[in-house]
Amino acid sequence: MEIPITYYLYLSVIIFTIGLIGIFLNRKNLIVVLMSIELILLSANINFVAFADYYQNIAGQIYVFFNLSVSAAEAAVGLAIMVTFFRKKDSIHVDDINSLKG
């Protein structure tokens, strides 16, 4: 109760930036990219919970609940795509994912 909400916001900003930099840095490993996405979603969740406490409104926590289910689904589908890709090309380099010629 006595923790100011801006501390939570600073923490979530820092985690968000770490996740974002992680996506850029780990171009060679798709698993770490997925983990960075999890970090970004986690920073959003910290914000939601902090504001739910700040406004004393339960809707923020409900939204975190939905956010958790969506991120679990995203992790499952992302890892399944990665397994399929590894079977095809025998690697999970981000630079090898160029079949669409994008």
């Binding site: 923490l11 900003v13 820092i14 698993i31 770490v32 983990m35 409104n57 958790l68 589908v77």
Partner: protein, 185 residues
Amino acid sequence: MTIFLFFIVSIIIITSSLLVILSKNPIHSVLFLILVFFNTAILFLFSGAEFLAMILLIVYIGAVAVLFLFVIMMLDINTAKLRQSFLNYLPIGLFVGFVILLELLYVVSQSKLNFLSKNITENKITNEIFENTKIIGNVLYTDYFLLFQLSGIILLVAMIGAILLTLRKREGAKKQNIYKQILKK
């Protein structure tokens, strides 16, 4: 005292999330990700979100992180080869990251939020009669019922998609042929 604990937990979160993206071995990354999730659960407890803290432990650590571990152990990745051109994207990554970090820090530092003036609404997150889990249940199954079902459908679609993506035909796998079974000669 609480603020002291908050700083300790925050430092652990920031350090281990840095180690998630910097460690060479993906398994170490997953283990540090588990540490991040665990400490975030402690943060949720500070904010009075007991149910979400436990859900974070069960869903993230118990399901998602273990799924990551399984996939990493199955894939047999050559870690030395993976780090070859690590530094190619370092300048632009750091540039974009720091620009976003500075902007967000400026926005937060200029905000007019004051934690002393709390707007109390009717759906309080904790009170004397009900605990947090009961309040979430009361709201989730009434006001947000359609969204709850929608998240169930999302999970179902994700499950079907994951099974379908990783399905492959194999020789010698025993399978039931219903047409052949009920066909009358």
